[in-house]
């Protein structure tokens, strides 16, 4: 049997995921990457983005919000502030959040403190919609 990755995904509120997977893709600070069993020790920060893992031929998607990724000895630890499985995402809410963030961005200039907050909100909403969309297509 092929080797597997042992994945632990934790947020401050709860442990979201603790599973053995075949392959894992995430969005790092420098771009998307994919890890397979036997990967060298690796530590990266994660941007707001998508995490996908493959288990038994099926692909699962999650929307992540800012965190860390670590792999050592086929043990993967993902620390994030929030994470949502594709089927948990409230598409209506994400759309509403997207609208709100767009509105706010129009009104603010790039120097405002709030600009970055709203920008992050926009990104989060986009990722949520993207992930939810992938789940629906399956």
């Amino acid at each position: 049997m092929a080797e597997k990755l042992k994945v632990d995904l934790v947020t401050p509120y709860k442990k979201i995921l603790s599973e053995e997977v075949d392959e894992l893709t995430a969005t790092g600070a420098l771009g998307e990457f994919c890890v397979l069993p036997g990967h060298a020790p690796f530590l990266s920060s994660l941007k707001i983005g998508e995490l996908a893992y493959k288990k038994g031929g099926q692909i699962f998607h999650l929307a992540l919000n800012w965190g860390y990724f670590e792999i050592e000895d086929d043990k993967v630890t993902v620390l994030v502030e929030t994470a949502e499985r594709a089927d948990e995402i409230d598409l209506e809410r994400a759309k509403a959040a997207l609208g709100r963030a767009e509105e706010a961005l129009k009104r603010l200039s790039a120097e405002d403190k709030e600009y970055r907050i709203q920008e992050a909100a926009l990104e989060r909403a986009l990722i949520r919609m993207q992930v939810a969309g992938k789940a629906a297509r399956k």
């Binding site: 632990d8 934790v10 530590l43 920060s45």
Partner: protein, 287 residues
């Protein structure tokens, strides 16, 4: 002996009190369960983050990041976590006393010690005695991670602006429903827990660079520590309140027993007096 009516009145009032304390106990029990779950849920995150941080910090120079750097300590900040509400036994009083003791003991070590309070009770206790930099209310009633993170960021900003050189956190750690540990934790500068054993550490690939990672990770660490401390404090508060209300209910029950006994005695005495009067009246007619 007190009159029948006044005893009856007292029994009713104690019964009302018992009803309230019982209800409060139930509410606290429910809240405690939720708070306890939150504490347990936050533990793996804090633990993992600590591990990652340790690995990073071990191979890093102490001076690489201002949050790790030890400065000459002149000004200290003590963050005191109490509750917003009372009626929870010695929960707030104990920790406020501990804060005062801390200030008294450390007075010689620092040029200045300022305080920051989270929770109304601590603020009210200390506002006339110590220098309070700021009080944060309304954090505890609806505790969530972003609120704790915001708090931590303010603390970090102050630290980087050299408003204080060392930050301590004083809070009630949750041990069990019955007992809380008053815990003093150094928040800044960060002292990474380095395990004694020099095990073989594999060479890591860092993305982006190690320094950048550390710069992002350290504030996060403070946030998580803050969040954890607040969670523990909230759980402790509910535990303390539950215990206090439980013993209050017990005392009320005991009191009602005593008063009922008194009431029955008084009633019996009244009946006896009345009988005596009737008998003596009858006797006198006969005579």
């Amino acid at each position: 002996m007190a009159s029948l009516k006044s005893i009856k009145k007292r029994i009713v009032s104690v019964k009302n009190t018992r009803q309230i304390t019982k209800a409060m106990k139930m509410v606290s029990a429910a809240k405690l369960r939720r708070a306890q779950e939150n504490v347990v849920a936050a533990r793996p995150y804090a633990k993992k983050l600590g591990e990652v941080l340790e690995r990073l910090a071990r191979s890093q120079d102490e001076n690489a990041n201002p949050l790790l750097q030890k400065r000459v300590s002149q000004k200290a900040l003590l963050i005191l976590v109490t509750s917003d509400r009372g009626l929870c036994g010695g929960f707030n009083a104990n920790i406020c006393k501990a804060a005062e003791r801390f200030v008294k003991e450390k007075k010689g070590d620092y040029a200045e010690i300022s305080l920051m309070t989270i929770g109304r009770k601590g603020f009210e206790f200390l506002k006339n005695r110590q220098k309070i930099r700021k009080n944060y209310g309304n954090v505890l009633s609806n505790l969530n991670y972003p609120a704790a993170a915001l708090l931590a960021q303010e603390v970090i900003e102050g630290y980087l602006a050299e408003e204080y050189d060392e930050v301590f956190l004083l809070f009630n750690a949750f041990r069990s429903v019955m007992s809380q540990d008053i815990t003093l934790q150094q928040l800044l500068p960060i002292v990474p827990e380095v395990t004694a054993e020099e095990e073989y550490a594999p060479e890591y690939i860092y993305e982006p660079s190690k320094g950048e990672l550390l710069a992002e990770l350290l504030p996060k660490h403070i946030e998580v520590q803050m969040f954890k401390a607040l969670l523990e404090s909230v759980a402790s508060e509910h535990g303390a309140r539950m215990t206090a209300m439980d013993s209050a209910s017990k005392n009320a029950t005991e009191m009602i027993g005593k008063l009922t006994l008194q009431y029955n005695r008084a009633r019996q005495a009244a009946i006896t007096t009345e009988l005596m009067e009737i008998i003596s009246g009858a006797e006198s007619i006969k005579g």
